[in-house]
């Protein structure tokens, strides 16, 4: 275990704990508009204040954290599943399959993902939901995992023990699942976390641009409403500080876990203290 991984896990754990505590103590229905007086600073009834649409921010932040986590996990998991499959197809099959997949990844990694997602997401004006959002993000979430895992499999394929397994009469599937997979697990774990993290980044970005679900108070939508409704001009400091703090904690936590796991998966990087 290294320090960064621990610090990252601690931060994320804290967020989960806050979300759980919040879910128990706050009425989550208050995340809907007109649940309270509008634009009120923190008070006994609304401990984190309310926004200009009369949402209770405590409820919004609890629901938002859960919804944002849902989008990230769904898109990230799809990305890893598709990415791993494509990576093995490419690296193990080789030949034209590899060329097609690698070329597609090269081209798609060159395009700015968020902008392409903007084009795609704009096809559902006003009908966006968190689930649809996750699916849209998953459309591009497989690129990075495919590239990373393919490279890893290519190296592993040349390892002595894989050649030995072929001499032992192991078939391709047995080699993939019995010989390579166990050694790939740390990489897959690191890739999953970074994939989830990238998906959350993309979803919050899309939402801030106004392409998010208007009926669901995700963290990104909170940022969107906050900017659109001019929280700065109106001086509603609590509406700015709270979601930004949560997002900072979320991104820093995920980042620390990603680099911590990376060091874990690539011992070569361990000297990097």
């Amino acid at each position: 275990m290294n320090r960064r991984l621990l610090a990252g896990l601690a931060l994320l754990g804290l967020l989960v704990l806050l979300a759980c505590l919040g879910a128990l103590t706050v009425d989550l229905d208050d995340a809907r508009p007109l649940s309270a007086d509008v634009a009120q600073p923190p008070s006994w009834d609304n401990p984190l204040g309310t926004d200009t649409a009369g949402r209770d921010l405590a409820a919004v932040l609890v629901v938002g954290t859960l919804l944002t986590a849902k989008v990230g996990l769904l898109a990230g998991l799809i990305g890893i599943a598709v990415g791993t499959t494509l990576a093995f197809l490419a690296a193990y099959h080789g030949g034209w399959v590899d060329r097609v997949i690698s070329f597609a990844v090269d081209v798609l990694l060159t395009v700015p993902g968020l902008l392409v997602l903007v084009v795609i997401a704009s096809a559902w004006p006003g009908q966006m939901t968190t689930t649809l959002m996750a699916l849209v993000i998953a459309l591009l979430a497989w690129r990075e995992p495919t590239r990373q895992i393919r490279a890893q499999v290519l190296v592993m394929r040349e390892a002595g023990y894989v050649r030995m397994a072929r001499l032992s009469g192991q078939g391709s599937l047995a080699i993939i699942f019995q010989e390579m997979m166990p050694n790939l697990m740390p990489y897959l774990g690191a890739a999953l976390v970074s994939s989830v993290s990238a998906a959350i980044l993309a979803s919050v970005g899309l939402e801030a641009l106004g392409l998010g679900p208007r009926d669901e108070p995700t963290l990104g939508m909170t940022i969107y409403w906050m900017i659109s409704e001019g929280a700065f001009l109106r001086g509603l400091w609590w509406w700015i500080v709270e979601p930004v703090t949560i997002l900072v904690a979320l991104f820093v936590g995920m980042y620390l876990v990603v680099i911590g796991l990376d060091e874990f998966a690539n011992p070569r990087l361990r000297s990097l203290k």
Partner: protein, 533 residues
């Protein structure tokens, strides 16, 4: 007066758990013009000693006691600045991995200029050309980048840098370990000439007793941080005092001694493996000329009788390609491969797989780090339907014993075993499967010298006791001669010579074979490298 005097040197690593000594009670002295060989296996302390002399020990490593005097000046305790000024100017270093020692983004002229300028010496084109000429390189080399030079040329550039400021002492740390045997001889000749011209002292660090016998005046043998023996080279080689020294000298295989040939093959034996005009080209390039073939129209026959065929070649000769084709891991670009008279492609894969097995060069990657080593032995037993459960275990343990290994090692992970143990385990695996053919690709090149002979003897055992044929692939003529019943010499994909090892190696008809033979450093100071370089 001595150039270098080391008195009771004690170097250790100060760790939390206590001090770990790397070198103890070491005393040596070296006069101007003298060459000292510092010999030992990995972990013997020879490189640590060199680092201490140059002030390059890294924390937690530190000189804990003793003195190191260069021209009478004690170096222990000098500060970084003083050491930096002393390096190259008074103590020059010729590195081990010359392949990667030169900064890849600098031209040779820049590398040399930096070395001169940082020590306050003038550097101009003439000076650089002169230095390059002293190591047998043309002035045009100055403009080149390291990746445009061969390994031998890079090592010469490093020698040019080492002599640029006329140092009192040159430390050469296995300067030729990455070079092939022919280039090794040429580079060592250049190094010795340059050192003679300067009259400086030289320490040659290494583990190759053959090279030591040819290159140094005195030999110091180290083991586990202690000096085991020290003396003039002739005395040490002819009458070693320490048993360890004797063992090191004995472990160098010499052509003409201890041949382990098998019985002659019956004249009417059928073919086991046959290559007919096999060619191999790697990669296809869309632009430019097609790549040079790794193998040219190769014919090769292995009779169906227990034989060892030695395939000898330097790197890039195509020897490993032959092994991969014989294993069916690689399909030739042209030509036919016949297994017991059948085209390889038409042989049922499961039978063929079982009949041809391998021991690879790198003992560190052949075991899956996720499993205990038994996994590598039990999988083929199960896959080929030979045995499962207790029967499999019994077979595995039996074959471990047959190669002299404790069967309890089966329950360890690979990283808990030494390189030699892993290679034995691989031989045990092959033995257990009773293949017809074993492809052994450089099975001992990554194993400590003292273990090599034992593993080669195991290959001979496979042939004599179990009737398994072996394709022994190596860069080393002497071991090829030692175990081979037939030998085949490869040069850049061409077979230059093949036949009975005694004939091929004792009366070579081809110039390339002669060149290889002449380049082998004999572990005997009285049988000098022929002067033709």
């Amino acid at each position: 007066m001595s150039v270098l005097e080391i008195d009771n040197l004690h170097v250790g690593y100060e760790l939390a758990a206590g001090t770990l000594s790397a070198v103890r009670d070491l005393s040596l002295s070296l006069a101007a013009g003298e060459r000292l060989g510092l010999v030992g296996e990995s972990g013997s302390g020879k490189t640590t000693t060199a680092l201490a002399v140059m002030g390059l020990l890294r924390a937690p490593g530190r000189v804990l006691g003793g003195q190191i005097r260069l021209d009478g000046q004690d170096l222990v305790g000098l500060d970084d600045r003083a050491f930096a000024a002393l390096r190259l100017a008074r103590v020059a270093y010729v590195p081990q991995g010359a392949m990667n020692a030169l900064n890849p983004v600098l031209r040779v002229s820049d590398s040399i200029t930096h070395a001169l300028r940082d020590h306050g010496a003038p550097a101009d084109a003439n000076r650089i050309a002169d230095l390059l000429a002293q190591v047998g390189l043309g002035a045009d080399v100055a403009r080149r980048f390291p990746h445009e030079l061969s390994g031998g040329m890079k090592q010469r550039v490093c020698i040019a840098i080492a002599i640029s400021l006329g140092p009192r002492l040159i430390i050469a740390d296995e300067p030729t370990s990455a070079l092939d045997v022919v280039t090794q001889k040429q580079v060592m000749a250049t190094l010795r000439q340059a050192q003679d011209r300067l009259g400086s002292a030289m320490i040659l660090i290494g583990h190759d007793m053959g090279l030591m016998a040819q290159c140094v005046d005195r030999v110091a043998v180290m083991r586990d941080g202690l000096l085991v023996e020290e003396g003039p080279v002739r005395r040490v080689f002819h009458a070693p005092e320490a048993p360890y020294t004797a063992e090191l000298i004995r472990s160098v295989p010499v052509i003409g001694q201890d041949r382990r040939a098998g019985t002659a093959a019956p004249a009417a034996a059928a073919d086991l493996l046959r290559f007919d005009g096999v060619e191999m080209r790697y990669g296809k390039s869309l632009f430019g000329p097609p790549p040079a073939p790794a193998l040219h129209k190769l014919d090769l026959v292995l009779p169906d009788a227990p034989r060892i065929l030695s395939i000898v070649g330097q790197s890039g000769s195509g020897k490993t390609t032959i092994g991969s084709i014989a294993l069916g891991l690689l399909a030739p670009s042209a030509g036919r491969v016949l297994w017991r008279g059948q085209p390889l492609a038409a042989t049922p894969p499961q039978t063929f797989r079982r009949e041809v097995q391998a021991v690879f060069q790198d003992p560190y990657s052949t075991f899956n780090p996720f499993y205990r080593v038994a996994h590598a032995l039990s999988v083929p037993l199960r896959r080929f339907g030979l045995a499962t459960g207790d029967a499999a275990r019994a077979l595995m343990e039996e074959s471990c014993r047959a190669v002299g290994l404790d069967p309890s090692l089966l329950d360890r992970f690979a990283h808990q075993l030494s390189g030699g143990q892993r290679q034995r385990l691989m031989v045990a695996r092959a033995l257990m499967l009773r293949p017809r053919l074993l492809v052994a690709d450089e099975p001992v090149s990554m194993v400590d010298a003292s273990m090599r002979a034992a593993i080669l003897d195991l290959l001979v055992d496979l042939r004599d006791r179990y009737g398994i044929s072996v394709l022994y692939i190596t860069h080393d003529l002497a071991t090829a001669w030692r175990v081979g019943d037939d030998i085949l010499v490869l040069e850049r994909g061409h077979v230059v010579e093949q036949g009975d090892p005694d004939q091929v190696l004792r009366a070579p008809s081809h110039q390339y074979t002669r060149l290889l033979l002449d380049s082998i450093p004999m572990p005997d100071p009285d049988r000098p490298w022929s002067t033709a370089a």
